[in-house]
Point group: C2
Chain length 415, copies 2
Amino acid sequence: MRQSKLFTKTSHSVPKDEESKNAQLLIRAGYIQKELAGVYSILPLGFRVLKKIEGIIRKEMESLDGQEILMPALQPKTNWEQTNRWETYDTLFRFESFYTKSEYALGPTHEEIVTPLLKRFIASYKDLPRAVFQIQTKFRDEKRAKAGLLRGREFIMKDLYSFHANEDDLAAYYEKVRSSYERIYAAVGIGNRTYFTFASGGTFSKYSHEFQTLTEAGEDTIFICETCKIAINEEIVKEQPECPQCNTTKLKEEKAIEVGNIFQLKTRFSECFDLQYTDEKGAKKLVVMGCYGIGLTRLLAAVVEALGDEQGLVWPRSISPFQIHIVGLQGGDEKAQEVYDKLQSQGLDVLYDDRRGESSGAKLKDADLLGIPLRLVISERTLKENAAEWKTRGQKESALVPLDKIIEKVIEMQG
Amino acid sequence: MRQSKLFTKTSHSVPKDEESKNAQLLIRAGYIQKELAGVYSILPLGFRVLKKIEGIIRKEMESLDGQEILMPALQPKTNWEQTNRWETYDTLFRFESFYTKSEYALGPTHEEIVTPLLKRFIASYKDLPRAVFQIQTKFRDEKRAKAGLLRGREFIMKDLYSFHANEDDLAAYYEKVRSSYERIYAAVGIGNRTYFTFASGGTFSKYSHEFQTLTEAGEDTIFICETCKIAINEEIVKEQPECPQCNTTKLKEEKAIEVGNIFQLKTRFSECFDLQYTDEKGAKKLVVMGCYGIGLTRLLAAVVEALGDEQGLVWPRSISPFQIHIVGLQGGDEKAQEVYDKLQSQGLDVLYDDRRGESSGAKLKDADLLGIPLRLVISERTLKENAAEWKTRGQKESALVPLDKIIEKVIEMQG
C-alpha cells in the first residue's frame, strides 16, 4: 500500500488522560483512535494487526474442534437472573428498550447464552463432547478505564466453551487448550515472557489458570517459580505462598498483564439451565463445562507493552500490518517505486512511504513509530552504492544490500 | 465436515411468533437460533454463509479503495447532540453507565463517529478523496421485530463512508459504488431480481437510492419501469408517479425487500463537525460525504426469502456453507466415507452425513432443508450400479454418476 493513500497519519499528540504505553504508541502511530474513555476505533493499520491475531487464534480454536458461531451482545435479563448474576455481576451494562420496556444486559461474557443454546442440541452422551467459540465484541461498565486497549469498556474477545460428559474429559480438553494458548502466545511473539499462572478457582475448582505476560507496567503482580516455569497470582500466593507444582517457596515477584484465562466451570451453569444428557445406561447427568477466553484487543495491547520501545511500536512478523516498509527519500523515489512494484507483484505485504513534502528525518521517525519489521530505505545516498539500506526494527545496525539482490533476499527472509 | 460432529441439528419446531420465511427455514435448519425478539445467534452453518457474504462484500469495498476499520458500538451522547439526532433518531438505544453516569448511544449507524474521526486526518485537498468501511454489529430499538434476520434489534452491517472535495467527485464515486453493489447482488445469487430503486433524498439531494430484491413476502412495495430496469419506491411514486429516467407512467407494482442503500450526504454531517479542507487556492471548504450500507444478516435473509422453497433453503454456490453434501444411506456408508475423504483431500468444502440411526427419509429431508447445492447420495441401491446419485438442490431430476468418475466430475463443476 502507498502511504500517501493511507487515511491515517502519525501524530505527536495523545489525549492527556492516556497514561498507558499501548494507548500512547497506538494512537501516535494512527493504529487506533480514542472515542471515549475505554472505547476506541481500530484504524486500518490496527485492523490489519487484529486480523492477523484473529487468524492465529481461529486456527488454534479449529484444531481444538471448536465450531465458530456468533452470539449476540443484547442478552435477556431473565437468563442473567437464572444464574443469579443480574444483580451481582459488577461490570454489567443494563438498560431497557424505550418501546417494549424489555430489559437487556450488554454481554460481557456468554455463559448465559451458550448454555441454553447447547441445551437445545445436547440430549445424549453421543452429542458430547462439543466445543463452540466466537470472536465477538464485549462490553463492561468499568469504573475506571485508563489502560488503553488493556481494559476497555468495549473490546474484542475470543471465547471458547466446551461441554463434556464428565470431569476427566473436561480435564483432558483443558490441557489441550493450555497447549493451544501457549502456541498462540508464541506465535504473536510473547511466548518467552508469558507464564501459565495459578489463580483462584471459585466454588467448583481449586484453581483456574491465567496466562500472564511480563511487562514493566503490568497491572498485575505474579510470583514465578523458575524451576517449573509457572507462576502464581497475588490472590493465590496469599493463601498458599509456594509453587503448587514443586512446593518451593522461592518465588520471584514480577509485574505482568493477563492475556488469557481458562476455567473449569464444571456444572456451575449447566445446573442453572438444567443442561443434562442421558448416559450409556439411560441415566440423566449434568453436562460438565469449561470456558476459555482471550481478549484480542488486550493481546494486541500486551504485545505493544512488551515489545514497544522508545521509538515506537515493534511488531513480530506474524502480526505486523505489513512485512516490509519501503521508505523513498529524496532522489530515491523512482527506484523505490520500482522495488515496491516488484515486491508487490511477488504477493508480499508492503507499505511504501511515497509521501512527498515530508523530510527524511520525519519519514524515518514515522517508520520507527509504525514498527514494521523490515525497513528498506532508498535514497540518493544509497543509490550511489546501487543499494538499499536494510534495517530490522528493534536492531541498531543496518546494512546496504545491492538493488539487484533485494527481491531475492526479501523472499528468502519471508521463508 | 462430518455431520455427526456438527453441534446443531435440524428441527421441526419454530418459535411461534416467528412468521417470516427466513427465520422459519434458518431456525429449522439450525443456521440460527432465536435469543430474543429480533436477536439471534448465528450457528456454524449460518456463520459459514455469513463469512462468504463478508468475503464478497470486502473484495468489492477494497476495489472501491475503501480502507477497513472498526468503529465502536458505544458512542458518546455529545456527538449525537451535535448532529441533532440524540432526541430524534427514533430507534436509538440510549443508556448510561452505572458508575460514571456517562450517557451512551448504542450505534445504529456511524456518521457521528466517522465524521470527527476523519476530521483528525483530513486537512488539505491532497488528503481527498478518502473512503473507509467496516463490517460491524449495529443496534436498533425496533418497536416490533417480527421479520427474522430482516429486521433485527442487533444485526451485522457493512457501512462505507466516502469523503470528497466536491459534489462531482462524490457523484462519480457514487456511480462506482452502484456498480459494486450490483456485482455483490449478482454474486450472492439475487442479481436478476434486484432493482436499483429511487428513494427520497432528504434535505440535500433529490434522490437517494435503495436496492430492492423481489420476493413474495417483501415488506416494501416498489414500482418497476421495465424499460429502464429500475424501480421507484412507494414514497417517491406518490410524489411523482413516473420513471425518473424515461418518464413513462407504465410502472409495475411488486413486493420487495431492501438489501442496500446509497446516499449522498453531501455536507449534512461535515457541517455539524466542521469537517473542512483547504483547497488548491488556500480557501477553506466543507468536505462532501456519501454513505453506503448493506446489512449482511439482512442480505442473507433476503437470499433465503428469494430462493428458499417448500423443502427448505436453497444456496447459490458462492455463499453455500458447503459445496457438496454427501449423504451415506444404509449399505453405502463405507463408500460414502471413501468419496468424502477423496473430495476433502482435493480441498473441497464437503459436508458428509455420516449419522447412524437416522432413517434414509430423514436424511434426505434434512439435506433438502440444509440447501447445499450438490447432493451425492450413496446407498446400497446406487452401489448396485457402482454409482452415486447426483442431484442439484432446487432441481427435480437426479442422475446416477459412476463412482470412478465422481471426483473428476465434481472438480470440473467447481471450475
